[in-house]
């Protein structure tokens, strides 16, 4: 199993606590599922001060000690640039992030793969945000869920602020998985080319989830796999997006609509942004228009995945500003 996280700034204390929680959750998973080798990769995008503002050596040492105690291999990878979430995860997983990989011959979760050097690649890929704290049962519950070959991504439940997107109470099936805490067969991730780097901060998880679903697998929300995510509610009951999230959120919405060939959604959001959007929304819209003009937009799903418009329409849904009808 490979566990990955991508850091961009943040304090050392929560990161140390997070890695400690990962080690503890791996121990539980080992006891319950008898895992083979486990490695943990931390990709470092630096911080707002620049890509060179990586973790101090003593913190890296502490992380190494915690992981070593749990017999977990540790790769600390300073990227030297800010790759964003998806780009960082791709780099750590050794996936180029190419768009439109062939969907056929996707290995199942039980298959063993070899990398270009002939070394075995992990069976499972687990990704967490570094501002999380993993409840001890979470990793084993996610992996248990992946035993079902139909499951393309197993998503953890976030606490204390649960994500409002819907899921089937019996099967756990959900329209998309949050990249905050998810597990998937490594082969699925690789065959899909990983995250699309067009999505820098937001929407990469929705895009990956949709591609997984268009490949015939399901996304499962695993209630019994809880992960504390450091989100603080405002008076609305939801967290307040940061300015960067607001900008990237708008860009992601437009990119997803573009890939789904939903021009009316694009028009609607561009119109709304021009009339009511914040400066950050307009920034995201401007970037989209810029890409549009320069022909830099990612390929629509139909083209890159060779799927029918009906398949795309069934998967890629837009409800207001969201990608499904939320539960609350």
């Amino acid at each position: 199993m490979r566990i990955q996280t991508v850091r961009y700034g943040g304090e050392d204390g929560p990161l140390l606590r997070f890695v400690g929680s990962v080690a503890a959750a791996v121990n539980v998973a080992r006891d319950r599922l008898g895992l083979d080798a486990v490695s943990f990769a931390l990709g470092d995008c630096g911080s707002a001060e620049g890509p060179g503002a990586t973790l101090p050596a003593d913190v890296v040492d502490k992380l190494a000690q915690v992981l070593d105690k749990a017999t977990i291999g540790f790769d600390y990878v300073p990227f030297g640039e800010n790759l964003g979430h998806g780009g960082g995860q791709n780099r750590l997983a050794g996936v180029a992030g190419s768009i439109g990989s062939d969907l056929s011959d996707t290995p199942t979760s039980g298959d063993r793969m070899l990398d270009s050097d002939g070394a075995p690649v992990p069976t499972f890929l687990v990704m967490f945000n570094p501002d999380t704290y993993v409840v001890p049962d979470a990793v084993s519950e996610l992996l248990r869920s992946l035993r079902d070959p139909q499951v393309g991504i197993a998503e953890a439940r976030q606490i204390p602020l649960e994500h409002p997107k819907p899921f089937d109470l019996v099967t756990g099936e959900t329209p998309w998985a949050s990249g905050c805490a998810m597990a998937l067969p490594f082969g699925v991730f690789r065959s899909l080319g990983g995250f699309d780097p067009a999505f820098f901060l937001h929407g990469d998880d929705v895009d990956l989830s949709w591609r997984v679903r268009m490949s015939g697998r399901v996304i499962r929300h695993v209630v019994s796999a809880a992960v504390f995510h450091d989100k603080r509610p405002t008076s609305s009951g939801f967290p307040e997006p940061t300015p960067e999230e607001e900008c990237q959120g708008m860009l992601a919405r437009l990119l997803l609509a573009h890939r789904a060939e939903r021009s009316e959604v694009i028009d609607e959001w561009l119109t709304w942004t021009d009339a009511h959007g914040s400066a950050q929304h307009r920034l995201g819209a401007t970037e989209f228009r810029d890409w549009q003009e320069k022909g830099r937009l990612p390929m629509p799903y139909r083209q890159c995945l060779s799927v029918e418009a009906q398949t795309v329409g069934a998967v890629a849904t837009f409800v207001g500003g969201e990608y499904a009808q939320h539960r609350f």
């Binding site: 606590r17 704290y133 204390p160 649960e162 019996v170 009951g237």
Partner: protein, 672 residues
């Protein structure tokens, strides 16, 4: 040695007018006073042997003890007093307890090898520079007899209580009246409280085996007359008394009269004294604090109640605590269950967490009691400067403890409070993901504990008399309220115990708000929580119950309350005038409703009449229709007859028979 006013027999309510140059204390014996009580303790607890009265003064208990078969030996630094003893045929020796060197040998010499049944230190220790040294010497003298299995003497003491309510109340008013004798005898060099006595004696091996304290509601310090803080039934006095009486049960003890046994090996179940983590808030060391006892205290003790029956939720609550941005917290998981295997499963669950967290978690089993029992047990177990609670089905954000810490920095010693949001959940069903140990979230967090959809960011004391907007997990109490005023959750309350304690605490120390949403209260849909299991009537009853308890004593309200109360009264009067208008309107509405009802009845009657008319009309119509049908039928018959007639008249047969009918007609005419 001098005595307190309880034995003076003088008017203790008046301030002594002048001090004598050389005090001489010659007090009378009374069975109700400390001397009589001391003799009782000797009889009750002391083994056979002489009674050694150290600091005996004029030996007020000498004759009484001799009369009761005890051999009495008095010792005092006052040679005149000793001479007086001897004159009374009592054994007396001059002994200076203030000189530590050779003191042990001196005391031993007094016994002259005779077995000692009791050592008396009556109104003596408070006059010594080093009273604890005397206790140490006594312990040293009889350690060997304890080791040899022999009965050591019982130590009987009488010590004035410097924490008597009268002294504290007057000190609040800026008075400290030293008197020739009594609680503040001018020759007192040491002041003792019950706590100091217990700690100091226990530290030297002397453990209480009996007590017969002298209780005086009005001590010799109850002066001047009409002191505003001492007026019986006065609001200020009653309020101060409500605080004093919560601190310990000795507020009106004038004299601690107690017996002690020597047992060096016994360890008292005394919690180590913990001090605040930051140097700036560390208490100064006390005389009996060793280095080992000065353990660093966490900022926050978190009490987590669980019955062990929803492990998934407990794990999530613990994850919230593990993810706190403040490390200086301890977690006490209070497992309210009699079954050991339940506790074992909770321990196993905790052990699955990372080491840096589990090292700060204690799991304690709480047997019996109601739902409040674990919380009170937790208050006793807590070591943190502050105490907060998080039940196993609730969740908090990562800055929950940090926000409390911010509040404490702003208002040390006050109640720290944050905002709590609520959301509705239900128990997962068996066929749903995650099984029944999980919850299903039904709503996003919402401001249930807010006022008219606005977040109630600040604590409103007056509002909290009427309703609670501060659920259990949204406040932290200074532990000093527990250690100093012995505040705890009221176990008589079935519900609302958190509301009650919060209010009582707030009324004493006040509240500081963080203004941040840091916790989520889970309101259960269906079964699973007190809100769903306890009927509204019980909530209301509990509310009334703790209001009545508050009614029993004066209230102290925070600054700004005067205007707030005036507004409340004004609002209620406006409300009252509205009530009259509302009553008249109500009457008018009722009259209109009555009129409407009558109109409805009239309409119904008219409608019934109309229906009757319709019925009659229909009946008539039916008759007409029947008649019409009959006419038609008759017409039809006529028509048919006419048709038959015409057919007959036109038939061939009729024509052929015409001659016959002519003949017949002719014959008929001719016959007539």
């Amino acid at each position: 040695m001098p005595n307190t006013a309880s034995d003076v027999g003088a008017d203790g309510h008046l301030p002594p007018s002048a001090f004598e140059e050389t005090p001489t204390y010659r007090f009378a014996f009374s069975w109700d006073g400390p001397y009589g009580r001391a003799v009782h303790l000797v009889e009750e607890h002391a083994p056979a042997g002489l009674v050694l009265d150290l600091g005996c003064g004029y030996g007020a208990v000498g004759e009484v003890l001799v009369e009761r078969g005890r051999q009495y030996v008095g010792a005092d630094v006052d040679s005149l007093a000793i001479a007086d003893l001897r004159k009374r045929s009592l054994e007396g020796h001059v002994l200076d307890l203030t000189v530590r060197e050779g003191l042990g040998e001196g005391i031993a010499a007094l016994t002259a090898g005779r077995p000692v049944g009791a050592v008396l230190l009556l109104d003596t220790l408070e006059h010594l520079v080093d009273p604890l040294g005397v206790l140490e010497e006594l312990s040293g003298l009889w350690d060997t007899s304890v080791a040899s299995g022999l009965d050591p003497p019982v130590l009987v003491t009488s010590i004035p209580n410097v924490a008597h309510f009268d002294l504290g109340a007057k000190l609040v008013g800026g008075r400290w009246d030293v008197t020739p004798s009594g609680l503040l005898d001018r020759t007192h060099l040491q002041m003792f409280t019950a706590d100091r006595i217990e700690r100091q004696f226990a530290a030297r091996g002397w453990h209480s085996c009996g007590q017969d304290d002298v209780v005086l509601e009005h001590s010799d310090q109850t002066f001047p007359v009409d002191h505003p803080l001492l007026v019986d039934g006065g609001t200020a006095r009653d309020y101060l008394w409500s605080l004093r009486s919560e601190a310990d049960p000795y507020g009106i003890v004038n004299q601690f009269v107690r017996a002690y046994r020597l047992d060096r090996g016994r360890t008292e179940p005394v919690r180590p004294v913990r001090h605040g983590q930051a140097e700036s808030i560390a208490d100064p060391p006390r005389e009996d604090d060793g280095d080992a006892s000065r353990l660093p205290a966490p900022f926050l003790s978190v009490l987590t109640r669980t019955q062990g029956n929803r492990p998934a939720m407990l794990a999530e609550a613990l994850a919230c605590l593990a993810a706190q941005t403040v490390d200086a917290l301890e977690v006490i998981v209070l497992v309210h269950a009699d079954e050991d295997d339940v506790v074992a499963s909770v321990r196993a669950l905790v052990a699955n967490f990372a080491d840096d967290f589990t090292s700060r978690v204690r799991v304690e089993q709480i047997r019996g009691g109601g739902r409040v029992a674990p919380l009170n047990a937790g208050l006793e177990l807590a070591c943190g400067r502050y105490i907060a609670c998080l039940d196993d089905d609730d969740l908090v954000t990562a800055d929950w403890a940090e926000c409390f810490q911010r509040c404490v920095a702003e208002g040390p010693g006050k109640v720290a409070r944050s905002i709590c949001y609520s959301r509705t959940i239900r128990q997962a069903e068996a066929d749903e993901q995650g099984t029944t140990t999980h919850r299903v979230t039904l709503t996003r967090p919402f401001a249930e504990f807010a006022d008219e959809d606005a977040i109630r960011e600040t604590f409103d004391t007056l509002l909290h008399f009427q309703r609670n907007t501060t659920p259990l997990m949204s406040f932290a109490l200074p532990r000093s309220l527990v250690t100093e005023l012995h505040m705890s959750f009221d176990e008589r309350l079935v519900v609302c115990e958190d509301w009650d304690l919060l209010l009582r605490a707030a009324l004493v120390v006040g509240v500081v708000d963080s203004g941040t949403i840091t916790s989520i209260y889970h309101r259960w849909e269906g079964e699973g929580s007190t809100t769903s299991e306890v009927p509204t009537q019980q909530w209301n009853a509990a509310h009334q119950q703790f209001l009545q308890a508050l009614d029993a004593k004066p209230l102290l309200l925070p600054s700004g309350s005067a205007s707030a109360i005036a507004r409340l009264v004004s609002d209620s009067r406006i409300e009252g005038s509205f009530d009259e208008e509302r009553r008249q309107l109500h009457q008018a509405i009722e009259a209109m409703e009555e009129r409407e009802r009558q109109l409805h009845q009239a309409i119904e009657a008219m409608e019934e009449r109309a229906r009757q008319v319709e019925r009659d009309r229909d009946e008539q119509l039916n008759i007409q229709q029947l008649q019409h049908q009959h006419v038609v039928a008759m017409d039809e018959r006529v028509h048919n007859v006419e048709r038959d007639r015409d057919a007959l008249l036109n038939s061939k047969w009729w024509r052929l028979t015409a001659p016959l009918r002519s003949v017949s007609t002719f014959l008929k005419r001719t016959r007539h």
